[in-house]
């Protein structure tokens, strides 16, 4: 591993047998043999691998508390892990850590329609929550593309988004409460079935804290009634600028679509070749707009969007007339990862957020960088919420290309920050963007966040080495690497 991680504690490394013995007194599920712990050596950011000293799979909150208390008292680092699908390396183990996997916390505890919420253990998948309530016509709104596999606890750690976050918010806007264990073993409950809680908003702080502040052992999330109707429109443009203007115009006219996605020409071609989605091939930019609400509302909005697209020089448009057709519109977009795997041996997926009106500017800069580095790039953009995912293509058999791809990626993120955006919209900082944090924050900002971390974990034992630069080093390294389409979860739709 080339990435700098916190220095391993020799005392802990030399005491492994004893630690395993003590952990076994607390939990029946302690793994330490090489082959047993191999599945836990990496998460969705597969470029980095590291085996921990042991993996514990607790089954109760009390067990989690005892494991953490033991580690706290013995100065042993702990890395929490949900489903391990995260793309920024947040669940990457440390050489001298105990990995606490929440996989056995896989039960839905309560579906409460009177209070419109679900109480679940953190290892339950995102989609399982919707599955548990859909018979009553309800669903859980945040829908990260990996929702069939990612866990709800992991979603809270990363503040996961999805394509519908402009209208329905990200995880943070949909969580009502958690039970969690602090590094010293203290069990606390925050929020519940009520909307607002007194005191500092610990729930808002925990959400998106990437497993640095506590280990979540129970969650309460809000559920919504499914909209009556959902329809989508495909709109093609001859220039990126026109599609960007169209998005701005839709929003200025007071429409908040459920989802709005833009793909550039290289991605349209790759995804359509792969998924046969029926996209027009002679456009520079393709916009998918999804609208939901009551039947008549959706019809009115579709008309308005088509009108706006015409006034923004759209060269192609088609509105879905059935749910099958709507899903076909999304099919290509959702297949972006495997589609690129066909045309390029490797690629890096970036994740920056930018002001919507900077899209044309940022893409034209990315194309210039692509020429400069001699590497291909394809882009998709959650236009509704300004979240840009450039996919940089390279060949890892050529070591020079990997380095170039990483530099290219870092340049893109720096440019996102320069135009008023941020380093990461939904994948998290983890280890991947850790060393770029100084692009966005100065020392005062970072020190404030580190002091806050100490308020929860004064020994810095919980998931250290993640999110914040070690020694404030602002180098450029690490991205999501995919070699020959071999991601950790190749079948999982991404972003």
């Amino acid at each position: 591993m080339s990435l700098q991680m916190p220095q391993a504690d020799e005392l802990v490394l030399n005491n492994k047998e004893n630690i395993v013995l003590n952990l076994k007194k607390i939990s029946n599920n302690v793994l330490f043999e090489n082959e047993e712990i191999t599945p836990y050596e990496t998460d969705g950011l597969t470029a980095y691998k590291q085996k921990p000293i042991a993996v514990v799979l607790p089954e109760t909150t009390e067990e989690v508390s005892k494991v953490l208390k033991y580690c706290f008292e013995n100065n042993i680092k702990v890395v929490p892990r949900g489903a391990g699908t995260g793309l920024s390396g947040g669940a990457l183990p440390l050489q001298d850590c105990v990995l606490v996997g929440l996989g056995k916390f896989n039960k839905i505890l309560e579906t409460d329609f009177e209070n419109r919420c679900v109480v679940a253990q953190p290892g339950v998948t995102n989609l399982a929550i919707t599955n548990a309530v859909q018979h009553e016509g309800f669903y859980y709104a945040p829908d990260p593309s990996s929702q069939i596999a990612c866990s709800i606890g992991g979603n809270i750690a990363e503040n996961s988004g999805g394509v519908h976050s402009l209208k329905y918010g990200t995880t943070t806007n949909n969580v009502l409460g958690v039970e969690m264990v602090l590094m010293d073993g203290t069990i606390i409950r925050i929020g519940g079935k009520n909307l607002d809680s007194e005191g500092y908003d610990l729930l808002g702080l925990i959400t998106g804290s990437e497993g640095l502040l506590g280990v979540i052992t129970e969650v309460t999330v809000k559920i919504l009634k499914k909209p009556q109707a959902v329809r989508a429109v495909l709109i093609g443009f001859d220039t990126i600028e026109d599609s960007g203007n169209c998005v701005a115009d839709i929003i200025s006219k007071g429409i908040v679509p459920a989802g709005m996605e833009i793909m550039d020409r290289p991605l349209i071609k790759a995804t359509d070749d792969y998924a046969k989605a029926g996209y027009p091939k002679d456009v520079e930019s393709l916009l998918i707009v999804e609208l939901d609400g009551t039947e008549s509302e959706v019809d009115i909005l579709i008309e308005k969007v088509l009108e706006i697209s015409k006034s923004n020089k759209a060269s192609y448009h088609r509105a879905s007339t059935s749910d099958e057709e709507r899903l076909r519109f999304w099919k290509g977009r959702k297949a972006a990862f495997p589609a690129l795997g066909v045309i390029s041996p490797d690629y890096i997926c970036m994740d920056g957020s930018i002001p919507r009106n900077k899209l044309a500017d940022v893409l034209s800069e990315i194309y210039k960088m692509s020429k400069k580095y001699g590497l291909g790039v394809a882009n998709c953009f959650h236009a509704g919420d300004g979240n840009l995912h450039p996919l940089i293509m390279y060949d890892s058999n050529n070591p020079k290309e990997l380095k170039k791809a990483e530099e290219f990626g870092a340049d893109i993120l720096k440019y996102c920050v320069k135009v008023g955006g941020v380093l990461t919209g939904e994948h998290g900082v983890g280890i991947e963007k850790r060393d770029l944090m100084c692009e966005m924050f100065n020392d005062n900002d970072i020190q404030q966040q580190l002091r806050l971390k100490k308020a929860f974990d004064d020994k810095n034992l919980l998931n250290p080495g993640k999110v914040y630069p070690i020694l404030h080093r602002c180098a450029e390294e690490g991205r999501v690497h995919i070699h020959k389409g071999k991601t950790k979860f190749p079948d999982l739709p991404r972003f």
């Binding site: 209070n115 957020s353 005062n444 020190q447 002091r451 308020a455």
Partner: protein, 410 residues
């Protein structure tokens, strides 16, 4: 150092706090000073943010507005209105409660108290609309968090933490708020003569439909006569359901509501103008205008609302006349509590209910005695209290920013 300091910019705030930290001099931070919420604190110094105001940048198509923290909320609302946009959390005008007249106060003040109106259960609380900020912490350091984009997971989400921190963590200098388009049209469907438990059943029924209700409140018979609207009968209890969106869709959904509640004996519809007025009067707590009593809000699971009302608000049972109303489809109860009991026994009982039922009470208005000695929030567990104290220290190590405003000793 003592007296009132009125900084003109962020760096003057920073210098002032640095000096105060050095000399261990606590500071009371005030904006418009319109909200007497929180414990009463006495500091030798006042940091008056009156000059930290003005809109910095409004980007309608990017759906955000960046303002200096002490900009008037009303000014922000009016600027947004000119572009047919709004703040989704529906800012509350607490002026009626304290002074009997409109006074929205400042943006920073609303953020400090995390105040959200009737749309909160659908659109989220104020804290959900704060995208980023710049502030000065208790050491005088200028810090920032978040940005102008809605999707942002870069570092801890400190915006959530400062919203509702009553100025105890940092002094806000600049804030970025998410804005949303104003709905084209709205109407309100009213059902009369329900008792509180029937009202909760009605809320539950409507929240299980896909009609996207954006306001759901209930005023009992003894707390309704302050409404003076042509199409509203204010002689008996009122349950109101707001529907917003394109006109055609609103009218269809109102028809749906009529059919869902067809067995109700008396209903009416408030059209656009009266509907808007109704929600303004309701959200702005005009029912407690200039109240001489204690006013508190209780956030609870809607399914617990009925038992709360039976215990604390129903005059036929406990023999006192505690005026109340429900908002957020039963998730919030506002109540006025008789000021004459010097032991505040009922507040203690409510706190006990909250602790037992995982609900939260905030005393929004009270007298000086209570503000000086009582706790305006439900008592929290020792573990959370100790964590709260550590968080406060991480921002304000010498505890000089509004010390004791939220909890005694923190």
């Amino acid at each position: 150092m003592s007296g009132v300091f009125q900084p003109e910019n962020e760096s003057q705030i920073s210098d002032f706090i640095k000096k105060s930290a050095k000399s261990n001099n606590p500071i009371e931070v005030v904006g418009y000073n319109t909200k007497a919420i929180g414990r009463y604190i006495q500091c030798s110094q006042t940091l008056d943010l009156n000059r930290i105001k003005g809109i910095i940048e409004y980007m309608p198509e990017e759906l955000y507005i960046k303002v200096r923290a002490n900009t008037s909320m009303l000014e922000v609302m009016e600027v947004l209105k000119s572009k047919k946009q709004m703040l989704g959390f529906e800012p509350v005008d607490y002026g009626y409660l304290y002074y009997g007249k409109s006074s929205y106060g400042s943006v920073g003040g609303a953020i400090g108290c995390n105040l959200s109106g009737s749309r909160r259960f659908k659109a989220g609380a104020l804290r959900d609309h704060l995208l980023g900020f710049r502030a000065v912490n208790g050491s005088g350091e200028i810090i920032k968090s978040g940005g102008t984009v809605v999707k942002n997971v870069t570092g801890y989400d400190l915006s959530k933490l400062v919203a509702g921190s009553y100025g105890t963590l940092s002094v806000l200098s600049e804030v970025v708020l998410k804005v949303l388009p104003e709905p084209d049209y709205s109407e309100t469907f009213v059902i009369y003569n329900l008792d509180s438990s029937q009202a909760i059943t009605a809320f539950s029924k409507v929240m299980k439909t896909s009609l996207e209700i954006s306001g759901a409140c209930y005023f009992p018979k003894n707390n309704i006569n302050f409404f003076r609207l042509n199409d509203l009968d204010n002689s008996n209890s009122v349950l109101a359901l707001r529907v917003e969106g394109p006109k055609k869709s609103v009218i269809e959904r109102i028809t749906n509501l009529q059919s869902i509640f067809k067995e109700m004996k008396k209903t009416s519809i408030l059209e656009l103008y009266q509907s808007k007025l109704f929600w303004k009067i309701a959200s702005n707590l005009e029912c407690f205008s200039n109240s001489p009593n204690i006013v508190a809000k209780i956030s609870l699971a809607p399914s617990d609302a009925n038992s709360f009302i039976k215990q604390f608000c129903d005059d036929t049972i406990i023999g006192i006349n505690n005026k109340y109303f429900m908002d957020w489809a039963g998730g919030l109860i506002w109540m006025e509590i008789d000021n004459s009991d010097p032991s505040y026994l009922i507040l203690e009982k409510i706190k006990k209910f909250c602790t037992q039922n995982n609900a939260h009470m905030t005393v929004v208005k009270s007298n000086m005695t209570y503000r000086s000695t009582g706790s305006f929030l439900t008592s929290t567990s020792d573990d959370i209290k100790s964590l709260t104290s550590r968080i406060k220290k991480s921002f304000d190590p010498k505890s000089i920013l509004n010390p004791g405003k939220m909890y005694a000793g923190i």
